[in-house]
């Protein structure tokens, strides 16, 4: 990784591209899109990129691998929603409709790169390799989080909005200070961009010239609040300018474009060009969570309009047309997805009873006197209950 003075980074990278810093920071005039809604590839000059800055098409292998994750992601979303309906799980914020973003977020990263996901990014977390049943611990109410962030380089799925972007900045900063070339992908939604921590995270990343990709899934809603009441900027990607950072927007239902845009962003960041902001336009096809009633704030016709843009269908059509999906491949992928779903079902159906003593075991590294006292009190209470039986 080259170490550049933050103030010079934008000058240097923009001159590499032969453009002004402002043009580097401002997103391309339109979003980047590679597949049209029928799964046909847009001609290279019509993919939204500024002339001379076209994105290369990812390799066939990369595309098929990504498609496999896409199919699994859809299956995970639908399986989990079903488990919620069956009462096996308390809550699941589904990313149905956003699976292309989820998959690209995981696949653009190298093994030592970190991801900072939100509650909605379960599919991305699994696609980065976290064991599904470890991911599900939180949703089934066993414990707040069930996997080891260090092992997978995936932080816990953050509930307090946008707070995790700052943690991402810290992880990148620590890595940079040690001379490691780790890239960090930090995820949030459109609504979350309004929080103060969004601003602080982007500014810190820019000032310290850190390799962080801020990846905003603009799914048009923050629970019931549409984007128009969240921001009146030309796009969320335009927010990059205020931090001296590059922004780009991309069709969030187009897995090919996402792989291209996030791929380049990761490369630029790893090369020491500082952070980038990528906004993906997508749509939350289901309610915010199962506890939400989306009919109160949006028309069904709007939802229907997005079915035509479904990321899975588009990708399947494209790959099939390109001859990249022979029947055995399709079958293998379908079987894989089914296996994942079965694993989720089996896992959720096997009862897990957390140990009440755990309440006190992890508040501090070593329980304090107070923790020990309170643990003893509960243990005594439970013992007496046991005796009374």
């Amino acid at each position: 990784m080259t170490t550049t003075e933050p103030r010079d980074a934008i000058e240097q990278v923009s001159s590499k591209f032969g453009i002004t810093p402002e043009d580097y920071m401002l997103p391309a005039r339109t979003e980047i899109h590679m597949l049209d809604i029928n799964g046909k590839l847009h001609p290279s000059g019509q993919q939204g990129a500024e002339p001379g800055h076209e994105y290369p098409l990812p390799s066939p292998k990369a595309l098929v691998d990504a498609y496999e994750q896409l199919v699994i992601g859809r299956r995970v979303n639908d399986q989990n929603s079903a488990l919620v309906r069956q009462g096996r799980m308390a809550v699941y914020p589904s990313s149905h409709g956003q699976e292309a973003c989820q998959v690209a977020a995981a696949l653009c990263l190298g093994e030592d790169d970190w991801m900072f996901p939100t509650y909605r990014d379960t599919v991305a977390v699994m696609a980065k390799g976290v064991a599904p049943m470890e991911v599900m611990a939180g949703f089934r109410g066993d414990w707040h989080s069930g996997y080891d962030p260090k092992q997978y380089k995936v932080s816990i799925q953050s509930t307090p909005l946008t707070t995790q972007l700052l943690h991402a900045v810290g992880v990148a900063h620590a890595a940079k200070l040690r001379g490691e070339d780790t890239v960090v992908l930090a995820m949030c939604g459109d609504g979350a961009t309004s929080e103060g921590d969004f601003h602080e995270a982007l500014n810190f990343a820019a000032v310290f010239n850190l390799p962080v990709i801020f990846f905003v899934q603009n799914n048009q809603y923050a629970i019931s609040v549409p984007l128009s009441q969240q921001s009146v900027a030309p796009s969320l990607a335009h927010k990059a300018v205020g931090y001296g950072m590059a922004g780009e927007r991309v069709d969030g239902n187009d897995l090919v474009a996402l792989l291209a845009v996030l791929g380049r962003a990761v490369r630029l960041a790893r090369e020491g060009n500082g952070p980038l902001l990528v906004e993906a336009h997508t749509y939350r096809m289901q309610a915010h969570t199962n506890a939400d009633d989306a009919t109160r704030y949006r028309e069904d016709s709007e939802v229907q309009g997005w079915i035509a843009k479904d990321p899975v269908t588009r990708m399947r059509t494209y790959l099939a047309d390109a001859g990249l999906l022979p029947q055995d491949t399709e079958e293998r992928i379908a079987a894989h997805a089914e296996a994942v779903a079965k694993n989720l079902r089996d896992g959720m159906n096997s009862e897990n009873v957390p140990d009440p003593a755990d309440l006190f075991a992890h508040v501090y590294s070593t329980p304090t006197t107070q923790m020990a006292e309170q643990a003893a009190m509960l243990a005594d209470e439970l013992a007496r209950e046991e005796d009374a039986k």
Binding site: E195, P354, L359, Q370, E381, E385
Partner: protein
């Protein structure tokens, strides 16, 4: 789970028996089952109808009506100028409300959940609490910050914090927390009318509980000052003679259940519903403890350095020689709020309260 609140006449010396009886008569007429949520919703609507400067805003409070539906129908009835969604930023919501209160409005804002008020902590602690004082009263801030709080609903992390102690410890804030449907209506109206900023803590597990009340009669009582204020007046939710249980918000119903269970065993417990944590009604609490000689304070929040510590400290400061035993506490543990499957071990339970009552040194005492 619908405790009947008997307002203590000691605490409300200024209500004539006649007025109270009249209110009771009116109440009987249109009484029907009303949820806690509906009472709050009606209080908002009635305040907005009466006073144009009352505004409601926050996250998802407009067309959705709030994630708990407390603001349901307000945008439709009063327009987007009176009840509206904001961008997703809690410091922004509180900060903007401060400016609105500075300029003639009475904002009533919603924080979506307890832990999501924390981004606004600086605005609350450094401005909401202090503006009146730092301007020597020239700039009052009539505003209400509604915070759904506490647990018992199997919520995920950051959705079940009992954060009242942070606010109670901050001078300049008033902290209200109703425990009954009737109080939900009356206390919210009172909070909105207050010239001081009020942190209005709503026990979210109570939103769906029902009581027989007549909201229209309550409206009339409130608007004609026929009911005494709740501010600074604890309610004696149940009379008793042997020991006093002191609780507020989500814990009142647990305390009532414990008192009922104790009664079966022949022990008469008085239950005090604190209602307004700030200002605290020392007088009612101490009068009860002086009478019973024993007390247990109950709260969901971690006990350490909390409102429950304060109540214990005050009782022993003020009623020391009436105490037959130390004042005990039954609170949440000093741990983060647990995941759903463990919350039953965390929350103050009837059994735990009864254990504490049993520990009040009955042999040695009076």
């Amino acid at each position: 789970m619908s405790p009947t609140v008997t307002t203590s006449s000691a605490a409300n010396g200024n209500v004539s028996a006649a007025t109270a009886a009249a209110a009771a008569r009116t109440a009987d007429a249109g009484t029907q089952p009303v949820t806690f949520a509906k009472a709050l919703n009606t209080a908002l609507a009635d305040s907005m109808a009466l006073e144009e400067s009352v505004l409601v805003f926050g996250e998802d409070v407009g067309v959705l009506g709030g994630v708990f539906r407390i603001t349901d129908g307000l945008t439709k009835r009063f327009g987007t100028g009176r009840c509206f969604d904001t961008p997703l930023a809690e410091s922004g919501i509180v900060g903007m409300a401060i400016g609105m209160a500075m300029n003639g409005m009475r904002p009533v804002i919603e924080m979506q959940f307890d832990a999501f008020a924390y981004p606004a902590f600086e605005q609350i602690a450094s401005h909401v609490a202090k503006m009146h004082n730092r301007t020597k009263g020239k700039m009052p801030l009539p505003m209400v910050i509604r915070i759904p709080y506490a647990g018992g609903i199997g919520g995920v992390e950051h959705h079940c914090d009992s954060s009242e102690s942070y606010y109670a410890h901050t001078p300049g804030l008033k902290v209200f927390t109703p425990a009954t449907v009737r109080d939900a209506y009356l206390m919210l109206r009172e909070a909105i009318d207050s010239p001081d900023p009020v942190i209005f803590m709503e026990p979210k597990k109570l939103y769906w509980t029902k009581e027989q009340v007549d909201l229209e009669a309550l409206r009339l009582s409130h608007e004609t000052d026929a009911v005494p204020p709740t501010e600074g007046r604890a309610a004696i939710a149940r009379s008793g003679t042997d020991a006093t249980l002191i609780a507020y918000g989500p814990s009142v119903s647990t305390a009532m259940a414990a008192a009922e269970a104790a009664a079966l065993e022949g022990r008469s417990l008085e239950v005090i519903d604190v209602r307004t944590i700030v200002p605290l009604d020392d007088a009612t609490i101490c009068a009860s403890v002086r009478k019973t000689g024993r007390a247990v304070v109950i709260a969901e929040a971690p006990g350490f350095a909390s409102v429950s510590s304060e109540i214990v400290a005050r009782i022993q400061e003020r009623c020391f020689h009436s105490l037959a035993a130390p004042v005990l506490r039954v609170t949440g543990f000093d741990t983060p709020y647990p995941a759903p499957k463990l919350e039953k071990y965390y929350l103050p339970s009837v059994d735990r309260i009864l254990d504490a009552v049993d520990a009040l040194q009955w042999e040695e005492g009076a």
